[in-house]
Symmetry: C2
Subunit: 378 residues, 2 copies
């Protein structure tokens, strides 16, 4: 398995990104991923009950259809809390793009990120779509990966190449997200493109597992977004034997886990205002669920996060946050180890003497810069 720290489009895929004028800044804000072959899709969406229009539309499409050829994404506007008009805007976006690509309706997925509660300017998207389609290319990935960003400072991208029999398969991941990051999931969009030939059930399972151990194990501010989506398209262009179960699926899952975890970590590296990258590992838990509860209680504690920012060894706050998780740990069973606070990378190890399960969660510190960014963002 070879790992590349950049997005490399798998066979059959192209991409593009343009400025449609949704962002006031004039920066790139409309992205397209396209597969020339029909691809199987699998998606995971936020657990927030107030879901944005594009998520609702994608869910509708996915009910009747698992074959897709394109994903269109806008940044600068979340198309959330926009009522019937918002649903219509999302639907018109997919339909207009499908027409321009010569695809049938409902074979386009859609995602949005940005401010909540403002009507999506569909007329701007409509005007930009012809150019977006025209610019589709292998190199277009560079524009696409920028066009999905909002407060992000870094582009999040990774690719993995591995052999299935004699056929090379590529898995390429791109993500955005820097704040409003919490399970499940984050103001986080993740797009994974692969030329693997894989069965629908195997794809669904692989994505579920990978998201559970990556995007659902990160938190910046405990704020759960309305727009979180992770989407994978698998277009079979690699021509490998069908991945269904056994060793083949294990290998695919291993690679997909790596892609998702690396993207998730990049989100935390880029967390709004972050000066620390913090890994919290909870071991000796009764089960994974319990370990995650404890780890996230620490990771979401503002007091823990400010202590990390201040390089302040106030570990009592770790104790307090663990106690607030509701997991009944005896004081004498709790062991806490924290690496030096002087470095950017900090490791917190918590052992709770209740069993054999472990989970690792990633988070950032809480700095005045986070507040500045979010006090002003609109």
């Amino acid at each position: 398995m070879k790992i590349y720290k950049k997005a490399i489009l798998p066979l059959g895929f192209s991409a593009s990104g343009v400025s449609a004028g949704i962002k006031k800044s004039g920066k790139l804000d409309l992205a397209l991923f396209y597969s020339s072959l029909m691809a199987k899709a699998s998606c995971k969406f936020t657990a927030n009950t107030m879901q944005a229009a594009p998520l609702k539309i994608c869910k509708q499409y996915l009910k009747s259809n698992k074959d897709f050829q394109a994903i269109i994404i806008n940044s600068g506007n979340a198309n959330c809390f926009t009522g019937e008009a918002g649903l219509s805007d999302a639907r018109k976006t997919t339909n207009f793009l499908a027409k321009h690509l010569g695809l049938k309706n409902k074979s386009v997925l859609v995602a949005s990120t940005g401010i909540i509660g403002r009507r999506l300017p569909f007329f701007k998207i409509k005007a930009a779509i012809p150019g977006l389609v025209k610019q589709l290319s292998l190199k277009g990935i560079d524009q696409a990966k920028s066009a999905i960003l909002t407060t992000d400072k870094l582009v999040k991208e990774i690719s993995v190449k591995l052999m299935f029999g004699k056929k090379p398969v590529t898995i390429c991941g791109i993500a955005k997200g820097a704040g409003m990051i919490a399970p499940n999931m984050a103001t986080m969009l993740g797009f994974i493109l692969t030329d693997a030939h894989i069965a629908q059930k195997a794809l669904d399972r692989a994505l579920g597992v990978a998201v559970g151990h990556s995007f659902n194990c990160i938190t910046v501010d405990g704020c759960m977004s309305t727009n979180d989506s992770v989407m994978i398209l698998a277009n079979s262009a690699a021509g490998n034997h069908l991945i269904e179960r056994g060793k083949g699926l294990d290998l695919f899952m291993q690679a997909l886990n790596l892609v998702c975890l690396e993207l998730a970590k990049m989100v935390i590296q880029d967390a709004e205002g972050a000066t620390k990258f913090i890994q919290i590992k909870v071991t000796a838990a009764e089960n994974e669920n319990e370990a995650k509860k404890v780890a996230l209680a620490i990771a979401n504690s503002s007091l823990f996060k400010t202590a990390m920012y201040g390089e302040n060894p106030n570990f009592g706050r770790i104790v307090a946050s663990i106690g607030s998780s509701g997991v009944k740990i005896k004081e004498r069973d709790l062991k806490i180890k924290v690496s030096s606070l002087k470095f950017r990378d900090i490791k917190v190890n918590v052992s709770i003497n209740r069993g054999r399960s472990a989970v690792t969660v990633y988070t950032s510190d809480l700095s005045p810069e986070y507040i500045k960014i979010n006090a002003e963002y609109n």
Copy 2:
């Protein structure tokens, strides 16, 4: 019912506060409330499973005994996560004080607030107790109310006087708390002293209700403390007819609710780094529990709080936080009204069209000052 914005000790009570040298600053850090008559006690403690030693000791005492005459409180050290040694320190504190006051063991309650995970310097407390007892007086309340503070900038105090038949009854409340404030409850200590003659069951019920609508309806940072305690002593000195049920209990509860709610609001007024006092009212909920869930989801959202700090009308964040509460509200049923952000006092009204219950929660904004305070506190 007359309300006084200061602590007025009820009949039979005296108080004192000294510097025992627990705080490095040399500020007052040891307080005593004393009743010359035996008093009925009732207490509410944090839901944090990692409870501090003084809470464990109080719970032990309360199992075998409901009659108390004193509460001793230290600030500067939470005596939490201190193991068997911490339990012994708390026990020695109550026993040594009981001896000095000529009381039997287990008739003294104890509370601590401050940093977690450091051994309580009992030798300093032991050395200070004789002076603390000597200085007991009506005026000593002024020292006592300062000695319980940590990062607080304001003293929190209120008194209510009301007639039961021809007998005047006083309820006096003192609290501390400015951060690590979240239901249930807060790094919050509340002490309520009354000369009312009231049955134990009625006292327990009244305190439970009052805390539910006050200290459990405030949040600064969503961080649940290990040391939260609200304690009431009722010494019967007013000589009123026993308050047990009916109108008498209603009146007492009304007064106690007021005392607790005003103290809780003062905690939010004094929240670490706060520039806003925010009242979040959720109406038309199916039940109170659901209303509280929604209100606290908003109140604990870092993104909402930073928007308030920035006077940034990014109300999408209210929508997102409501959705993260897990309560299934239809988009079209959600009505949000926010008062002008230019003032210190902000009112957020949220109606969810699911029923007739309502709850009001109080919170503050999240400012760079909060981070500064907590990055440095140790």
